[in-house]
Symmetry: C2
Subunit: 230 residues, 2 copies
């Protein structure tokens, strides 16, 4: 590999990439963004957006930049999920990857556009993922675990929900994230008791349709201060 390249070091170094598992909730299901790879290795396979680390950026900045280049999206929130360093994870040679998950607003579901060296960018419901390139199945597993942790520490959910949402919306989101059902009544009670959402005033709304709420950021910070154990 590259014995004549122009970057020379006294000791061996691996290549370093950043990969990004992007979540988006569309009101019905939790989705992740996949890129159909335009080149080898794994040409035409689905993979998470990502690419090589450049000289003056952190791993998070690299993940952000690659996402922007490949799809045009800018996440509302990002968090590291771990390093992937399996010796054979990339057929091109030794590549270490810093993994991230991130969250975009519901409106971004329609906005993602394949750019750069991505042949295609496409949202998949988390329950219906295709086969993935590299060790990205493992990357996804870890991303979901960290998303769940994020939900327990509370804030991420609201970024996925957007400005206005109903309680049944939230429940659908939780159902996908935790891959289990919730009792409709208990879910509503528990959630409203947190006091994190305010009802939207709209006298003309049909009684049949679910009440709409918006996120109360103030209350959220108050609560987080209390709950923060870590």
């Amino acid at each position: 590999m590259g014995e004549k390249g122009k970057y020379c070091y006294d000791y061996w170094r691996p290549a370093v990439t950043a990969d990004n598992v992007v979540f988006c909730f569309d009101g019905n299901h939790l989705n992740v963004l996949l890129i159909k790879r335009g080149r080898e290795p794994y040409k035409d396979c689905w993979a998470f957006p990502g690419g090589f680390l450049e000289e003056n950026e952190t791993l998070e900045e690299a993940a952000r930049r690659e996402l922007k280049e490949e799809t045009g999206l800018e996440p509302l929130y990002m968090e590291e999920i771990g390093a992937f360093s399996g010796v054979d994870r990339d057929p091109r040679g030794r590549v270490i990857s810093g993994g991230f998950y991130s969250v975009v607003s519901p409106a971004d579901k329609e906005r993602a556009i394949a750019g750069d060296d991505a042949a295609q960018a496409c949202w998949f419901p988390v329950n219906e993922l295709p086969a993935l390139a590299f060790d990205h199945a493992e990357v996804f597993r870890k991303a979901l675990i960290h998303l769940r942790i994020g939900f327990h520490l509370i804030p991420v959910a609201f970024l996925l929900l957007g400005d206005i949402f109903t309680i049944p919306d939230i429940q659908r989101l939780y159902t996908d994230v935790f891959n289990r059902t919730f009792d409709r009544r208990n879910f509503q009670k528990r959630f409203l008791k947190l006091g994190l959402v305010d009802p939207v005033e709209e006298p003309e709304r049909s009684k049949r349709l679910p009440k709409r709420y918006r996120f109360n950021e103030e209350a959220y910070y108050q609560l987080r201060k209390k709950v923060m154990k870590f």
Copy 2:
């Protein structure tokens, strides 16, 4: 930096290291292992053991190897805590680090010996850490968070405790790990109810001294199966 080295690549690459936050419980306090650095940068400063990734090992293997070389210790458990990629975190240039925390048995507290390029290896109680080299203060913060998560998913505590221990031992450990107090009586009740420990039979033991227990691995695996949500 190394424009004439013998390892040449077409694209820029960062150096990659692995760092290891090693925890040990001595019956009274939770300790971490620090190395007094024998060379620049940060010569004579305290840092976590670690070193450069080599060609045929994962980050975890590198962290394990460096720990063995620098102190002779072999951890009972290891887990990743994240990647550290700040642009200025190492004055030698761009260095990405994979962080780990690990756990050794109480007996290892006396066994750690400085070897290799470590001038000195020394245990510090987690509440009395000295100033740390690089971004290792941040590394420690993340390690402690992940140790706490490990405690919630249950197994790590017993590795720290060793074969035989008392309930007050466990409570001292929890006090250090979570940096808070626990009601003695409630702690004992809750812990025994888990059914993870068996009393050690010893008819001659003074009534004044606390009862001694050993870990029931069988019961632990049963419980974990039930509790495992992720």
